[in-house]
Amino acid sequence: MVTSFEDLQRRFCARPDSDWKVSGQKGYLTDLIPVDALWVEVWRSPIPHGRIIAIDTSEAAKVPGVARIATAHDVPGLNAYGPKVRDQPVLCADRVRMVGDPVVAIAASTQAAARLAVRAVRVEIEQLPIVGDVMAALQADAIRIHDKGNICHERRYISGDATDALVRSAVCITETYRTGRQFHAAMETEGGFVVPQENGSLRVHVASHFPHGDRHSLAAILNIEPDRIEVVSSPMGGSFGGKDTLSVQPILVLLAHLTGRTVATHRTRQESLQCGETRHPFVVHMTTGCDAEGHLTGHQVTIIADAGAYTTKSIDVLDTAFENGSGPYAFEAVDMTGRAVFTNNGNSGAFRGFGAVQVQFALEQQIDRLARRVGLDEAEFRLRNLRSLSVGPLGQVTTGAQHPSTVLSVVAQHEIWKQRTVRSNGDRYLRGVGLSLITKGEGFSKGGPNGAALSLSLGEGGQITVACSAVEMGQGAIAAAADITAEVLGVARCDVAVALGSSSEPDAGPSAASRVTGTLYRGIRAAAPDLKKKLLEMASQDLDLKIENLRLGPGGIWPNRPDANGSILSFSELAQQKPHRWPSIEVYVPGVETPSDVKGHGDFNAASAVAQVSIDRWSCQVRIERMAVAAACGPVVSPMSFVGQVEGGAMMGFGMAVLESVPEREGRYLHQNLDGYMVGTIADAPTVEVLAIEDLEMDDDLGPRGIGEISINVAVPAVANAIANALGCAVRKIPMRPSDILSALRKKQDP
C-alpha cells in the first residue's frame, strides 16, 4: 500500500526544535562560544605537496595577545588521527600532503591577534611533485604520498565468469563514467570550543557524528585516558557527512591542554572547503551485458576513488561503492575491482550517499542503455532483472525486507513516467524523463558498529527522557525520539524530553549511515515496557491502587478505564513524590547484520524515482522540473522529517548531477567559496512528490529504515538518466556543467 504525499502531509507535526531554528536564535555549538575563550587560528600549507624544511614562529610569538603557539613537537601523544587508519596529522611535522594541511596552531586572546600571529609565521617548504590525478597516482614511478604507497584501500569481488558471460551476451555496453567533487556546504561550518574542567578533564563542544568514538581518538592525541574527555556534539547546523570525522577537535584539545584555558575556533567558508572533506570523485569503468530478451548476463566493474591526502572514510566509502556496484539486479556473473587512491587533491571523506551514489549513477546509465538496445521499456527491463530479495549484492543472506519491485511499479505508474514526452528538436528547450531504481544497506555493513545503547527514564522535572549519544544534525532525531516515545508509551509529545549528542549519555554509535531513527525506534521500544512497568508500580504505591487499574496517558497516570478522561497523577507529581527513585532503563539493541561471512549489509531498503528535466539549448542550463520518489523504508515515524529528507536529497542529488562541482588544478580547488561553488537555491528546486511504502513483512520487527541517504542515492541516477534522454546520448560524467551540455549539444543537429 502506498502512502500518498497528501496523506503524509496530513500527518505533519512541527518539530520540537523548530522554533529557535526558524527564528534564527542562537543554539548551535558555534553560537555558544564563550566570549573569554582564547581564539585559535592555524597556519596552513599553501601548496599541495611538500617537505617542511624549517618553521620559524619567533615573530608570531611577539604579537600581543598570543598565549600559545603549537607545532607537531607539542603533541604529547599520537600526532595522528583517523576513523580506521590514523594517518592524518594533528600538525604536520615534516611533510604536507594537501593545500590546507595544518602546520602551526596559535591561541591568542582575540581572533585578530591570532590571525596577525599566523601571518607572522614563516615556514619553509620544499615543493614535491604533485599527484593531482588518480591515474597518475597509480603509475609505478609516481611519488609516494604515504610510506605504504598510493593505494589507500582495494577490493575485489568475483562471482562466476564475467568474461565468459559477456562474450555470450547479445548486447554489451562498455563505458567509463566520472563523478565530481561535491562540497557539503552545511549551513554551520566546523567549529566550537573546548573547556578544561576542574578535575583536569576536557569538555569538547564541537559537532561530530560519534561522540564516544571521538573521545578515544582525542585521548590518544593527548596521551590521556578517554574518560578524561567528554564530547558534546549536538545540535549541529547541518553536516551531510562533513562533520562525520574529526575536524577542528584535535587542534582545539591540544591547545586547551597546553594552555589550560578555554579555546575556540570556527572555520571560515574557505577553510571549510579547503581543509574539510569533500565527496570522493570516482572513475567507474563498466562493461555490462544482457541477452536478446533483456536478461542481464555479465558485469565487469572497475572503481577508482580519489581519496585525497588521507584515509579518513575512504575504506568504508569504497566498500559501500563495491556493494552497490551491481545494484538490485541479478547477474549471471560479476567481476568487480575497486581502489581508493591517495592524491594531493584535498581530502575526500564521508558524504551523504557515501560511495554508493557514484556507482549507482553509472549502473543506472548502463541499465537504461541496455534496455534501449534490446527495445524494452526501462522499467520493464529492471523488473525483469531483480535479484532474489533474500540475497545481497555480494551474495550474502539478507532479511529480504526490501521492496524494489513495489517502488519501481509505483514510479512506473506515475504520470511523469507514463506521460513522458518525446524530445523536442525545434524548441529552445529539450525535455527528458529518467527513471532510477536503487537499494541501500541499512546502517553499517558487517562488523558495524551497528548496535546502540539508549536510556529511557523519568527525569527530575517529571519528563520522560530519552537519552543517548545520537546526534541531532537537522535530520529530525529529536522529533523522531519524541514521537516514537510518545507513541510507544501512549503519552503526549510534550511529556517527553530528548537528550542527545553527548558522550555522557549511552553510546548509540555513530550517527551515520541513515541509522539514527531506526536505532531510536528499536531502543525506545526495547526500553519502554520496563519503564512503563516501573512508572505504574510507583503510581500504584502512591495512589494505593492496583497496577492493572492504571495506565500511562498524556500528562501522567490515568485510570485504566475506557471512559477515563484525564490523569489522576501527573508525571511531575510522580517525580516529586519519589525524588530518589526516578526509574531509568538502559538498553542495548544489537544491529542487523548478515549471518554470512561477507563484508556487506544484512538488510536493504529500496527506492525508485522519476525525474523530468529541461535543457536550455541556448544557455546550456539544466532545470529539474518535476520529480516523484517512492521509498520503501518501513513505517514513517515523522512524516515532516521524512518528506524533508526526500526533498532535500532530491535537491542535493540535482546538485551533484548538475550544479555542484569543485574543479581542481594541480591539487588546488578553483572555487573558494559559495560565490563560485553553486548550491541549488529554492528557484532551482523542483516539485517533488514523495510516496512512502510503509508496509513491513509480518515478522519484521526492525521498524523504520533510514531515509536520510537513499533520497540522494535515487535522485542522482534519475536526473542523469533524464538528461541522457533529453540529449539523446549517455551521460558519462556528473555534474553535467554547461561545458558538458554544450559539448553534447554540439554533437546534435545545428539548432
Binding site: 541556448w618 560565490d675 537555491t681
Partner: protein
C-alpha cells in the same frame, strides 16, 4: 592591503566625496557595498571606503521627451519596481530580476553595478546606447567605461526610449542568484543591431565586428558566428567554461533569439 585596517567615510556631499577621494591613495566609492563583498576574497581592496549611498536625492526615475533618466544612487530593486521602467523599458526590469537576490538588489545601486567590472547591467545599457552624467560631465556610457570610471561619481543614466527589440540573457550557473558565465544584450531595429556582452570574468564590450556581419545580413552558421565572436577577444575563461565555449554560448543565444524574433515579426 590588510583588511583589518579599513577606513570608512560617509560622504556628506558630492564635493566631500570627491575631495576625500583625491586626498588619499586607493580610495573607493561604495554604494550598497554588495560588489565589494563579492570581491572581498579575490582582489586587493582599497583601504579607504567612501560611502556615497546617501547622496541620491532625486527620484529614482524621471521621463523626458525621448529618454528616461535613472538616478545612479538608486538601489537596483527600487529601479526594478519603478512603473516608468516596467512600462517603458521592460528589458531593464527583466534584467534586474536576474541580478542578485531581492536583498542584494535592495542594497546594491545602479552606479555600483555599472562601476563593477562584472556588472550585468553594463552590456544591457551599452546595447541600449545609454548616456551617463558623471562628475566629469555628460558622455556616452561607452566612452565612460572606456576611459575608466575611477575618480568619477556616476550621477545619472539616461536611456533613450528604445524603438527596437531588446534581448537580454544572463547565462548563469543556476537559475537565480548566480554569477554570470556571460551576459548578453542585443537591440535590433529594422536596419540596425547593437550587441554587447559582459558579466563574470569577461570584458564588457560591444561586439562591433559581429554587429557588422549581422547588419550586412550575412548568413552565419553557428561555427562561423562562434569564431567571429571569439575573435573579438572579449570572452574570458573562468573555472568552469573556456572563452571559446562562452563564445559558442553567445552564438547559440544570438542565433536562437534572432531567429525567434524574426519569426515574431
Amino acid at each position: 592591503v590588510s583588511k583589518d585596517v579599513l577606513r570608512y567615510h560617509v560622504a556628506s556631499s558630492i564635493s566631500d566625496a570627491l575631495d576625500r577621494w583625491k586626498s588619499v591613495d586607493r580610495a573607493l566609492f561604495i554604494g550598497g557595498a554588495t560588489a565589494l563583498q563579492l570581491d572581498w576574497s579575490e582582489s586587493p581592496l582599497s583601504e579607504f571606503l567612501i560611502d556615497v549611498s546617501g547622496l541620491g536625492t532625486g527620484l529614482p526615475c524621471e521621463r523626458n521627451e525621448s529618454t528616461i533618466e535613472l538616478c545612479a544612487f538608486s538601489p537596483l530593486e527600487r529601479i526594478r519596481q519603478e512603473p516608468l521602467v516596467t512600462h517603458l523599458f521592460p528589458a531593464l526590469a527583466y534584467a534586474l530580476r536576474h541580478i542578485g537576490s531581492f536583498g542584494v538588489r535592495s542594497m546594491g545601486t545602479l552606479a555600483g553595478n555599472l562601476c563593477w567590472r562584472k556588472g550585468d547591467l553594463r552590456p544591457l545599457l551599452l546595447a541600449a546606447d545609454a548616456n551617463v552624467v558623471t562628475t566629469a560631465g555628460p558622455m556616452s556610457l561607452s566612452n565612460w567605461l572606456e576611459k575608466g570610471t575611477a575618480g568619477d561619481l556616476l550621477l545619472k543614466v539616461i536611456l533613450p526610449l528604445s524603438r527596437g527589440a531588446m534581448i537580454f540573457e544572463k547565462v548563469g550557473y543556476r537559475r537565480l542568484f548566480s554569477p554570470s558565465c556571460v551576459t548578453i544584450a542585443c537591440v535590433t531595429t529594422r536596419d540596425d543591431i547593437r550587441l554587447a556582452v559582459g558579466g563574470g570574468s569577461n570584458r564588457t564590450a560591444r561586439l562591433y565586428e559581429t554587429e557588422a556581419a549581422l547588419r550586412q545580413g550575412r548568413k552565419l552558421c553557428r561555427d562561423d558566428l562562434t569564431a567571429l565572436i571569439a575573435a573579438e577577444d572579449v570572452m574570458r575563461a573562468d573555472a568552469e567554461v573556456t572563452a571559446l565555449e562562452k563564445a559558442e554560448i553567445v552564438a547559440n543565444v544570438l542565433r536562437g533569439a534572432l531567429i525567434q524574433s524574426a519569426f515574431a515579426q
